[in-house]
């Protein structure tokens, strides 16, 4: 079964039901299927088949859905990319993921083609949709696609951090994604049909699994939001479209908990809000459950390498401890291990390990690293946690260097590499510093080179090359980076220095 079959089944069952509403149009399941088939026909004619990688660089919209399922229908692998990437980031990722064809908007295609240059064998295809939902395919550059026969079973490729600071590309098959999705759906035990508010970028594994795959398979209606998250927009959409479910990361939950006059909106249709990306603070969770007692706020934990959902506090969140992220989903096993890999008893803190049918195929082009991640069938998540005697999971921290900013994962190495391209920077290190709303924000330590540069110069340099959330909020200049041994930066020490300096500045 392919991901595309989920759409095909729902379109056969509910052809007249609204599938997606976005800023430009509203389309039914029948129309979404016909657009998907039209695009997939083109992709096949362009040589897309199993083993070919096709990137989708589109904002949340009905076109995104058509592109996502059309790639699946052609047999190629979907390479999910953020539409907010700068062309500099996108070109780098496209090359690293060995993408053959990019589906994107006209405005992005020009800049991307220029950034990629003539040497690359990459096709660029633009897709647009008019207000009647009619799809228009534009061939910007067409080249012959490359087939990666070792990975012809891959359905989806997404960005992740793994357990170290370097970003990696996770490969997942149809079976891994679909099995995880069906388990999630069974646990959630939805009242149907649902109206799904989609504000998280659709390249996130959390949004792909808990929203796109799950609710397409239910034949539900999506409200696809292509704009930054504003809590007031969300409340208006709930009222206007009778939204029943959405997925939040902690900063969205904080905005909802802090909103002063939610009663001016009719939020009675809203039944579920799933919370993931990082642990929502306890006081925020309690504030939400007190203020909105008709809504189930469901803590859940997952990661790309686990095909995504691992544990969940559902179907009745009130039956789970507030601090936990619920119990392992059925057919998913969780254990906690120490540094030597020994299994720890309940209430002991250690690394969270997971075993399930959703565990990934491996990282693209990094077979050794992939093997190290899975030992005797157990996936080493790199996250630190504990289980209680009832099997509830509690997240304690992260083993990895990854920074989470407003639900987005940041890999220090990527920002550090960008900083080192600046001739005024000799050495650089990125750490995360706490932020009330975004959980963490990146902060840079720079050892200056021979020429002078200011904090503003560094920030502006990054702005032109990196997505907003990756741009360091603060830059500290330092004579020498503290090291652990000969090659590892002492990030703990840098964090202490940063916190001290920020305290003094206040």
């Amino acid at each position: 079964m392919k991901l595309f079959d989920l759409l095909k089944r729902s379109a056969a069952k509910f052809p007249g039901r609204t599938a997606v509403i976005d800023d430009a149009c509203e389309i039914t399941y029948a129309k979404l299927l016909s657009n998907t088939e039209q695009l997939s026909k083109y992709l096949k004619s362009a040589g897309c088949r199993p083993g070919v990688k096709v990137a989708v660089v589109l904002p949340n919209s009905s076109v995104y859905f058509a592109a996502f399922f059309a790639i699946s229908a052609s047999g190629a692998a979907i390479v999910a990319m953020s539409s907010k990437m700068t062309v500099y980031e996108a070109a780098g990722f496209i090359k690293r993921a060995d993408v053959s064809l990019v589906l994107t908007e006209k405005t992005f295609a020009d800049n991307l083609a220029e950034q990629l240059g003539n040497k690359e064998q990459i096709s660029i295809v633009t897709i647009e949709q008019n207000s009647d939902g009619v799809l228009k395919i534009g061939i910007f550059i067409q080249r012959c696609p490359k087939v990666d026969s070792d990975n012809s079973d891959v359905a989806l490729m997404v960005y992740t951090s793994g357990t170290t600071g370097q970003s990696k590309i996770v490969m997942l098959t149809d079976d891994q994604l679909i099995s995880n999705m069906f388990i999630y759906k069974a646990v959630m035990d939805f009242e149907m049909p649902n109206v799904v508010y989609c504000s998280l970028p659709l390249h996130h594994i959390y949004a792909i699994c808990a929203q796109v795959l799950t609710h397409i398979s239910c034949g539900d209606t999506f409200i696809a939001m292509n704009r930054p998250f504003f809590i007031k927009d969300f409340f208006k959409a709930v009222q206007n479209h009778k939204v029943t479910i959405t997925a939040f990361v902690p900063y969205m939950a904080i905005l909802m908990a802090e909103y002063s006059q939610p009663n001016q909106f009719d939020l009675s249709s809203l039944k579920y809000i799933t919370l993931s990306g990082a642990k929502t603070p306890k006081h925020v969770y309690q504030k939400l459950t007190n203020a909105f007692d008709h809504i189930k706020f469901i803590n859940t934990y997952g990661m790309s390498e686990a095909g995504s959902r691992i544990s969940i506090a559902a179907p009745e969140p009130a039956e789970f401890p507030v601090e936990s992220v619920g119990k392992a989903m059925p057919s998913v096993a969780i254990r906690i291990t120490d540094n030597r890999g020994e299994v720890l008893p309940a209430k002991h803190i250690g690394q969270i390990e997971v075993k399930s049918s959703g565990v990934f195929k491996g990282y693209f082009n990094q077979p050794k690293l992939s093997k190290g991640m899975i030992v005797s069938g157990w996936l080493k998540t790199g996250d630190i946690g504990k289980l209680d005697t009832q099997g509830n999971l509690y997240l304690v921290g992260r083993k990895k260097e990854m920074i989470i900013c407003g639900g987005e994962n940041i890999f220090p190495a990527e920002i550090e590499e960008t900083l080192l391209e600046n001739p005024s920077v000799r050495e650089a290190a990125i750490i995360g510093i706490p932020d009330d709303r975004l959980e963490e924000v990146p902060c840079a330590f720079v050892v200056p080179g021979d020429s002078f540069c200011s904090e503003t110069d560094i920030i502006n340099f990054c702005r032109k090359r990196l997505s907003s959330f990756k741009v360091p909020r603060k830059v500290f200049f330092i004579e020498q980076l503290p090291m652990l041994g000969t090659s590892k930066i002492n990030r703990r020490k840098l964090k202490d220095i940063a916190l001290d300096k920020l305290r003094i500045d206040k």
């Binding site: 930054p228 504003f230 959330f469």
Partner: protein, 89 residues
């Protein structure tokens, strides 16, 4: 004696200050005006919006509540200036 500023002058000053706050999101060619759409023209995302609001609160010494913000406010710089102007009165 306190001189009363004309509304137009005030808006111009607010725009000038906003231009400074917006520098990180502007390319070399873009000169923002009241019609600039911060979301589609400058591509501000959720994190950028939070940073921008923090910058506005600091520069203008005002507090902006989340209940005062939605995508309409950022769809035209003029709308954002209205919010700031309302706070400064």
């Amino acid at each position: 004696m306190e001189t009363e500023k004309k509304p137009f002058t005030n808006r111009t000053e607010i725009l000038k200050t906003l231009e400074k706050i917006l520098v990180p999101w502007l390319d070399d060619k873009t000169k923002p005006n009241e019609q600039t759409n911060l979301l589609s023209d400058l591509g501000l995302d959720s994190v950028a919006i939070l940073q921008l609001v923090l910058g506005i609160e600091k520069e203008f010494s005002v507090t902006i509540k989340d209940s005062e913000l939605d995508s309409d406010v950022f769809s035209k710089l003029a709308n954002l200036i209205d919010v700031i102007e309302g706070k400064l009165k």
